[in-house]
C-alpha cells in the first residue's frame, strides 16, 4: 500500500479555488484531489473528471427489477400454480403493474446505493486520509501529488501564489486516483502507513 508525498493547500473561497485548479492543471501539476465540504458545481469539469456513469448503472438495475417482477409473477401465476381469480385470465398483466413498478424502483435504488458505496469505497468503519479535517467543515483542500519531477519548493510557492493558505507537505496513505477505481486504494490500515512514513522520511 503506497504512501505518497503531497503538497496541500487550503482555499476559503470558491472564487479563488476555480482559477487555482485551472492554473495548477495548466502548469502540469498532478491534482490528486480537491476535498470540499459540499458539492461545488462545475469543479469536476474544471478538474477534468469525466462524468459519472452511475445513473446508467441505475437504469440497468431498474430494468433488471422490471424483468424480475414480470418474469416471476408470470411464471408463478401461469405456469407454476395457475389460480382462477374471479374468472380473470391467468396472465393479467395490468394487475401486476404496481408490483412491477415497486420492484423496478427497489432494484434501481438499492443497486445504485451499493454501487455508489463500492465506487467510493464507503462502508461502515472505513477510515481514510483526507489531509485536513477542516475539509468537511469550511475549507477546500487541494492536494498536489509529488512525483520525481516535482520541485517541492517551487510547488509550495506556486500554491501560495494561487491563493492557498496553510500550504504544507504531507505524507499520506493514498485514497484513490481521480475517477478510477484502483486496487491500491483499499481501506486505510494505520500500522502499515506509519511504517511506510518512517521509511519515506528516512
Amino acid at each position: 500500500m503506497p504512501v505518497k508525498k503531497f503538497i496541500t493547500g487550503n482555499f476559503y473561497d470558491e472564487a479563488v479555488l476555480f482559477p487555482a485548479v485551472k492554473k495548477a492543471r495548466r502548469a502540469g501539476y498532478k491534482i490528486h484531489d480537491v476535498f470540499t465540504p459540499f458539492p461545488i458545481h462545475g469543479l469536476d469539469k474544471a478538474m477534468g473528471l469525466r462524468d459519472t456513469s452511475l445513473h446508467t448503472a441505475g437504469f440497468i438495475y431498474g430494468i433488471t427489477g422490471t424483468a424480475t417482477a414480470v418474469g416471476f409473477i408470470t411464471w408463478a401465476l401461469t405456469v407454476d400454480w395457475p389460480i382462477n381469480f374471479g374468472g380473470k385470465p391467468y396472465f393479467s398483466l395490468p394487475a401486476w403493474i404496481p408490483i412491477t413498478f415497486e420492484l423496478t424502483v427497489l432494484f434501481a435504488s438499492v443497486g445504485m446505493v451499493l454501487t455508489f458505496c463500492y465506487l467510493c469505497q464507503l462502508a461502515p468503519f472505513v477510515k481514510k486520509d483526507h489531509f485536513n479535517p477542516r475539509s468537511t467543515d469550511d475549507t477546500f483542500v487541494m492536494a498536489l501529488e509529488c512525483t520525481e519531477k516535482t520541485n517541492e519548493e517551487e510547488a509550495i510557492q506556486f500554491l501560495k501564489e494561487l491563493g492557498a493558505e496553510d500550504v504544507k507537505v504531507q505524507y499520506k496513505e493514498t485514497g484513490w486516483w481521480l475517477g478510477r477505481y484502483d486496487k491500491d486504494t483499499m481501506p486505510f490500515r494505520k500500522k502499515e502507513t506509519e511504517h511506510h512514513k518512517e521509511t519515506i522520511t528516512q
Partner: protein, 484 residues
C-alpha cells in the same frame, strides 16, 4: 469578491444572519455536541412511557387475540387500519420535500428536508405495525412474502391490492432509508472530524462510512441524489395510490370510487406537511435553529397546506356529487345518511373532518396567519386530527351499516388496548425523533452550505449592492484584463 450565484431579490433569504461556512457547521452541530437539555429529557421520557404502554397493549392483543379489540361484524377494520393509513399518509411529506422539491429546484427544502425525511421513516415504521399486528397470528406474518414453501409452493396473490401494499410500503421504507442515509453521510463525516469524545469518535467514525469529500465522490453523490429523487417521486405517489386501492377496488359503497388515488395522495401530503410543521415549529425553537428554519419556510409549507387542504375539500365535494349523480341508493345511503347526516351515529365525525380539513386551513390565505408560529402549530394539530377522522370516516362509516339492517353492527368504539396501541406508536415515533434530534444533525449541513452564498441573507445583501451599482463603477471594481 466572493463567488455569488444569482437569486432573485424578490425571494426572501433562506439563511438569516451573517454566516460563513464554519458558522453553519457550528450552529447545526451544537445540539448534537452539547448535553441534552431538560426539555429533551422530559420529552424523551414521556415518549418512552407511551412506547411501553403500546408494547403492553400489543402484548395483551397477541396473548388473547384480536378479540381484545372491539372490532365486530361488520366493522372488521377499525382504529388499526385508520391509524395505518394515517401514519402512512404522514410518511409522505418527507419524500415529497426531499424528492419532488429537489426536482423542482426548490431551495427552501434544504432547511427542512433532513428532519422531514427522518419523520417519514419513523412514520412508516409506525404505520407498518398496524397491518402486521392486525393479522392476529403475527408469527405467521411472513406468509405475505412470496417465498418457496411446502404448500405447493402456493404463491401469494399478486393480483391483490393488499399484496401490492406489502411491496409498496416495504419498497418505500427501504428507499426512504437509503435516500436519507446517503444524504446524511457527508454530515456525519463533519461530525466525525469534529468529535472529541471517544464514543462519538467511534460512533460517527463508523457511521460516516469513510467519507472524505473528494470531488469525484461528490459528483457521484449528486448523481445518486438526483436519480433517487427521480425514482422516489413516482414512488411516493404510488404508495398512497396503492393504499387507496385497498379500498377503491372493493365494491363497498363509500370505498368504491375512482377518485381515491389522487384524493389520498393530496390528503397524505396535507397531513404530512402538518406533522412536519408540528415537529419543526418545536425543533427550531428548542434547538435554536430559527435562522435556518425561518418564518419563510413555515410560510411556504402553510401555502402547501392550504393548497392540499383545498384539493382534499374538492375531493369530498366530488364524492358527494358522484354519489348523488350515480342514483344508486346504497351510494346515497353511505354518503347522505351515514356521513352527511349529523344525527346519524357517526355523522359527527364527518363534520369534524370537514371542519378541520377543509374549513380551518382556509385561514392560511391570510399572510399574517401563515407567518404566525402559534397559529401554525395549532393548525397543524387540527389538520392531523381532521386527517385522522378522514380515514376513520372512510373506513368505519362505510362498513358499520351493511346492506341489510339486520347486519348493522353495534356502535363501534375502541377498547383501551386499541387506544393503547395507537398511543404506543406515538411513543415509538417520538422516541425515534428525539434520538434523531440528539444524535444526528437535524438540518442538512452540506446542503445549507451549498445554497448559502445564493440564499443567505448576508450574501443576498452583497448581491443587492452589486445590482445597484452603476455599470462604470462595477467594471472599474471587478473588471479584469483577460490578456494578462
Amino acid at each position: 469578491m466572493a463567488l455569488l450565484r444569482y437569486e432573485s431579490q424578490v425571494r426572501a433569504p433562506l439563511v438569516e444572519g451573517v454566516k460563513d461556512y464554519h458558522q453553519v457547521t457550528e450552529d447545526i452541530c451544537r445540539p448534537v455536541e452539547t448535553r441534552p437539555t431538560k426539555a429533551w429529557w422530559i420529552g424523551f421520557i414521556i415518549s418512552v412511557i407511551f412506547l411501553l404502554f403500546g408494547i403492553v397493549s400489543v402484548t395483551v392483543q397477541v396473548i388473547y387475540g384480536v378479540g381484545q379489540w372491539n372490532l365486530n361484524r361488520t366493522v372488521g377494520w377499525g382504529w388499526d387500519i385508520t391509524n395505518f393509513v394515517w401514519w402512512i399518509g404522514i410518511g409522505h411529506a418527507g419524500t415529497l420535500i426531499s424528492a419532488i422539491l429537489l426536482l423542482f429546484r426548490q431551495g427552501w427544502r434544504t432547511g427542512v428536508n433532513r428532519a422531514a425525511e427522518a419523520m417519514t421513516i419513523f412514520a412508516v415504521m409506525c404505520a407498518g405495525q398496524f397491518p402486521v399486528w392486525h393479522m392476529g397470528r403475527v408469527w405467521d406474518a411472513f406468509f405475505v412474502l412470496p417465498y418457496p414453501n411446502t404448500r405447493g409452493p402456493l404463491w401469494v396473490n399478486f393480483n391483490s391490492p393488499l399484496l401490492w401494499d406489502v411491496f409498496a410500503i416495504s419498497t418505500y421504507f427501504t428507499v426512504s432509508v437509503l435516500f436519507w442515509y446517503s444524504g446524511l453521510i457527508p454530515d456525519l463525516a463533519t461530525l466525525r472530524d469534529r468529535a472529541k469524545k471517544k464514543w462519538s469518535k467511534f460512533f460517527y467514525g463508523a457511521a460516516a462510512f469513510g467519507w472524505t469529500g473528494s470531488t469525484k465522490h461528490w459528483q457521484r453523490h449528486e448523481s445518486l441524489s438526483l436519480v433517487l429523487a427521480g425514482l422516489s417521486t413516482p414512488l411516493v405517489l404510488s404508495v398512497h395510490t396503492i393504499v387507496s386501492f385497498d379500498f377503491a377496488t372493493s365494491v363497498v359503497p363509500g370505498w368504491h370510487t375512482t377518485i381515491f388515488p389522487p384524493y389520498f395522495v393530496a390528503g397524505a401530503i396535507f397531513s404530512g406537511f402538518a406533522m412536519v410543521q408540528t415537529l419543526l415549529v418545536v425543533t427550531r425553537k428548542v434547538l435554536g435553529l430559527e435562522e435556518y428554519i425561518t418564518i419563510e419556510h413555515i410560510d411556504v409549507m402553510n401555502k402547501i397546506i392550504v393548497l392540499t387542504g383545498s384539493i382534499v375539500g374538492i375531493a369530498y365535494l366530488t364524492e358527494l356529487f358522484m354519489s348523488w349523480y350515480s342514483a344508486v341508493k346504497y351510494e346515497n345511503f353511505a354518503f347522505f345518511e351515514n356521513r352527511l347526516n349529523l344525527n346519524s351515529p357517526y355523522g359527527w365525525s364527518y363534520w369534524l373532518m370537514m371542519g378541520c380539513n377543509v374549513l380551518s386551513p382556509q385561514i392560511f390565505w391570510i399572510r399574517k396567519m401563515r407567518r404566525n408560529i402559534i397559529v401554525t402549530f395549532f393548525m397543524s394539530i387540527l389538520v392531523n386530527i381532521g386527517m385522522w377522522f378522514e380515514r376513520f370516516v372512510i373506513i368505519v362509516t362505510s362498513i358499520y351499516r351493511d346492506y341489510l339492517p339486520s347486519a348493522w353492527s353495534t356502535y363501534y368504539t375502541p377498547t383501551i388496548w386499541e387506544v393503547g396501541f395507537y398511543l404506543g406508536t406515538f411513543g415509538l415515533f417520538f422516541t425515534c425523533y428525539f434520538l434523531f434530534a440528539k444524535f444526528f444533525p437535524v438540518i442538512a449541513i452540506a446542503e445549507i452550505k451549498h445554497i448559502l452564498k445564493k440564499s443567505g441573507e448576508h450574501y443576498k445583501a452583497k448581491m443587492t449592492e452589486l445590482e445597484e451599482q452603476k455599470l462604470e463603477t462595477f467594471v472599474e471594481k471587478h473588471g479584469h484584463d483577460h490578456g494578462a
